[in-house]
């Protein structure tokens, strides 16, 4: 893999000759093949998706012959998938298509992706510093309950945000103490965090609300309308009126990227995750960095969690085990995105899109909608199996560090 600097030095023609380029172009074309058949383009003949899909597959095979086998076969598979989806789409009625693929799908995708973005960036901070965080699910669940509790008792959603962040950070601090100081196995510790969060939220929900639902009228996380955009034709519905945390998630991704890869602090964090001994030698306090990152991870995960209870879908209610695996999808997005904020964001959007599509399909085929929920997990399995590229965790991820 070339570094960015080396890539920039190469002339454009050389980069085009790189087998990776044809591979990625193939995958892009494959996506385009499926895209052709749905609104707004909506080709009604099967010819176009097939044609574009075949070109994608050919590009893939070309990539294989030039040595990038994994990427090439990935492009071939994507091409075939693109053709299949394209044919399926052209076969179904135009009315159905338009009601599924409209602007609200974009808004829903972004909304469903929000907790995943927070969760996966939370995971990135923790794991980049060398601490595996299986406990994301539990930290999100804590945010979901204590956030809505804070908003209910405090009277405003801002209090809810603060309470959620504080409780998430506190649980992460307990986990950090066991993972960093006591050097207990991090997978075992994370599992414990998930059980604890399940028990604590369930216990206090019954205790504080007497097993009744949380009363209506809790102050919810507000939507933020972009004045110029909100009335625009397609974009108004799509991104004109998103939740405050959804906007925050965009900022978070950029901030996480800048902090991790463009600042000295980020360099220290990554050093602790790749080679803590070396980091220690040059004077970085590995323990402080790891504590900071794990606590930050808990805070961010809890903010993702509060979106579930206090966001537009949650509507100020709490349900036992409300996260229902979203913490693990966030974990999957982190892995799928190769422990990078931008990659994790892309994966979260993809997973959010599959959930949004599942919601829309509910009307036409509840069974297909249920099966659609499997997509994130299957994709992650494929990703860790290394069929399309290979995901590489930080070298010291999960290894407790002992000062000498």
């Amino acid at each position: 893999m070339n570094t960015w600097a080396a890539r920039l030095d190469n002339p454009l023609s050389a980069r085009l000759r790189d087998p990776a380029t044809s591979g990625y172009a193939g995958i892009l074309l494959a996506a385009f093949a499926a895209f052709l058949a749905i609104p707004p383009i909506e080709a009604r003949t099967v010819t176009w998706p097939i044609l574009v899909g075949v070109v994608a597959a050919v590009l893939g095979i070309w990539t294989v012959t030039r040595g990038r086998r994994r990427l090439g076969w990935g492009a071939v598979a994507a091409g075939v998938l693109g053709i299949a989806l394209g044919i399926l789409a052209t076969r179904s009625g135009t009315g159905n298509l338009q009601s599924v693929f409209d602007a609200t799908l974009v808004a829903q995708t972004l909304g469903l992706a929000t907790p995943l973005v927070f969760g996966s960036v939370a995971g990135i901070f923790s794991e980049r510093s060398g601490v595996v965080n299986i406990g994301l699910e539990g930290m999100m669940l804590m945010g979901a309950f204590w956030g809505v509790y804070g908003a209910d008792k405090g009277g405003t959603w801002a209090v809810g945000l603060l309470v959620a962040a504080a409780v998430g950070g506190l649980l992460a601090l307990v986990y950090a103490y066991f993972a960093i100081h006591l050097r207990s196995d991090q997978i075992v510790g994370g599992t414990a965090v998930n059980f604890l969060a399940l028990g604590i939220t369930g216990y206090f929900y019954v205790q504080l609300y007497n097993n009744n639902p949380i009363p209506n009228g809790v102050s919810l996380l507000p939507n933020v309308r972009i004045p110029g955009l909100a009335n625009a034709h397609f974009f108004g519905q799509a991104i004109g009126d998103l939740n405050i945390l959804t906007w925050a998630s965009f900022v978070l991704v950029i901030a996480a990227f800048v902090v991790l890869f463009k600042t000295p602090i980020g360099l220290r964090i990554r050093a602790c995750g790749e080679h803590p001994r070396a980091a220690d030698t040059v004077g970085i306090n590995v323990y402080v960095v790891r504590y900071g990152c794990v606590v930050l991870s808990g805070v961010l995960a809890a903010l993702g969690g509060i979106y579930l209870s206090e966001g537009p879908q949650g509507n100020g209610t709490f349900i036992f085990n409300m996260t229902n695996g979203r913490g693990f999808i966030a974990l999957a997005a982190m892995i799928f995105g190769n422990w990078r904020p931008a990659g994790a964001f892309g994966a979260a959007i993809l997973f959010g899109f599959s959930s949004a599509l599942a919601l829309k399909l509910q009307v036409y085929s509840p069974q297909a909608a249920t099966l659609f929920q499997i997509l994130p997990y299957v994709l992650t399995l494929i990703a860790v199996a290394g069929v399309i590229g290979r995901t590489v965790p930080p070298a010291a991820d999960g290894k407790p560090y002992k000062k000498q």
Partner: protein, 413 residues
């Protein structure tokens, strides 16, 4: 129990980093006392939560008494086989939960012995449950013995295959088994939602909008020996679980397979150097691990559940409880049994075992189980804490001796 090869000192083992090595340290570090201390500490902290929220220490003690009775453990004071007796009924229900937890605990323990963390017991359990339901319903008309054997064998194999995916991925491309088993868990959960859901292939044939499966045929139901068939009587699944415990012990300690699995768990590089096929053993261990969880699903389905619904899926936590059971039982057969009994009692005693006169309402107490479970796993995982206590004793002894005498003792420890 014999360790393969000369064992490293606890500190060395902790630093080589493999899970099995670290667990082996704990195995020697405190015998029976450490899990006991862990449980006491977890119950104490759970009690503090109850006392704080109920504003009374007395109430917390009474709550634990209720849970003890709810689990039917007061049966030992006046044993009777009469199932109408409330204590004996509760005990039979606790033993039903124990049966499941023994098997899901063994699933986690076996993988641990090979240095892997099988967090996917829940998924493998569901796969076993689904296959047992499918064959139990579809093969109606078979005579009981072949029907039961067939359904159990198929469910066990299905569990093995499901976990085997993680084993193969670990052996071939090095994918971390924790990640793959988590993903497989959720795939199994959603497949279950689809199968049992409205219009799903396994949904019942009479009520169209009830997302519950058909009952398994009479011929596939395990015989009940304590209680009433069809009313959650205690079935022979308990003996299957006990047999599995013996099989686990024999497999680990008395066969070449077990020796190889443990050797890979202690140190894969050393095992490979000694001529053991590491990849084969990783796949094998994961598959056997999944087989235990699949068997758990079959025993539950054919033993007392008979059917399963979409709404039961998110409630079921037995696969995850297996992690606590195995860790508490130190991945040994006898330890797993005791751990399963403890959590089986807790699981039933904090939920259905309680009634309106209980100090603590069942909805509250059920969550107490998860809190205690979380605390147990948290404390059991902190081996440095245990090591520190264990080694401080040794350090004290070493200080009293001259330096030259202490050195060889440390090397030998």
């Amino acid at each position: 129990m014999t360790d393969p090869g000369p064992s490293p000192s606890p500190e060395q083992a902790a630093q080589t980093g493999t899970l099995a090595a670290a667990l082996a340290v704990k195995q020697r570090a405190g015998g029976f006392m450490v899990p006991l201390a862990t449980v006491v500490l977890a119950f104490l902290m759970g009690g503090v939560v109850v006392a704080a929220t109920q504003h009374s220490v007395h109430k917390a003690l009474l709550a634990y008494q209720d849970i003890f009775r709810g689990a039917g453990l007061n049966w030992i004071f006046h044993p009777t086989t009469n199932i109408l007796n409330i204590a004996s009924y509760n005990l039979s229900q606790t033993l039903l939960q124990t049966t499941t937890l023994i098997l899901t605990g063994l699933a986690v323990a076996f993988a641990f012995r090979c240095g892997m963390f099988n967090i996917g017991g829940q998924g493998q359990y569901f796969v076993g449950l689904i296959v047992a339901n499918w064959l139990g319903v579809d093969l109606a008309g078979l005579s009981p013995l072949p029907h039961i054997l067939l359904a159990i064998a198929a469910a066990t194999l299905a569990g093995a295959a499901w976990a085997g995916i993680a084993g193969v991925l670990k052996a071939t491309v090095g994918a971390h088994e924790v990640i793959t088993t988590i993903m497989l868990n959720w795939i199994a959960i959603w497949v279950g939602e689809w199968l049992f859901g409205d219009g799903g292939p396994l949904q019942n044939s009479t009520q169209q909008f009830v997302p519950v499966s058909n009952n398994v045929a009479k011929s596939a139901q395990l015989p009940v020996f304590w209680g009433t068939q069809g009313f959650q009587g205690l079935d022979i699944g308990l003996f299957i679980a006990l047999a599995a415990l013996v099989a686990f012990w024999a497999l680990i300690n008395r066969t070449t397979l077990g020796y190889e699995v443990r050797a890979v768990g202690f140190n894969p590089d050393a095992a490979a150097y000694g001529g053991i096929n590491v990849k084969k053993n990783l796949i094998r261990a994961m598959a056997i691990s999944g087989a235990f969880a699949g068997l758990a699903g079959a025993v539950d389905m054919l033993g007392y559940l008979y059917r399963f619904g979409q709404l039961d899926i998110p409630v079921s936590q037995v696969g995850f409880l297996g992690i606590a059971v195995a860790l508490l039982g130190r991945n040994t057969a006898i330890g797993t049994m005791l751990g399963a009994l403890l959590f089986g009692g807790l699981l039933y005693g904090t939920t259905h075992g309680l009634n309106a006169t209980s100090v603590i309402q069942p909805e509250l107490a059920g969550n107490l189980t998860y809190i205690i479970q979380g605390l147990v796993v948290l404390f059991v995982g902190a081996d440095v804490l245990i090591l520190y206590v264990w080694n401080s004793r040794k350090r004290l002894r070493a200080q009293r001796l001259p330096k030259t005498a202490a050195a060889p003792e440390e090397a030998a420890a």
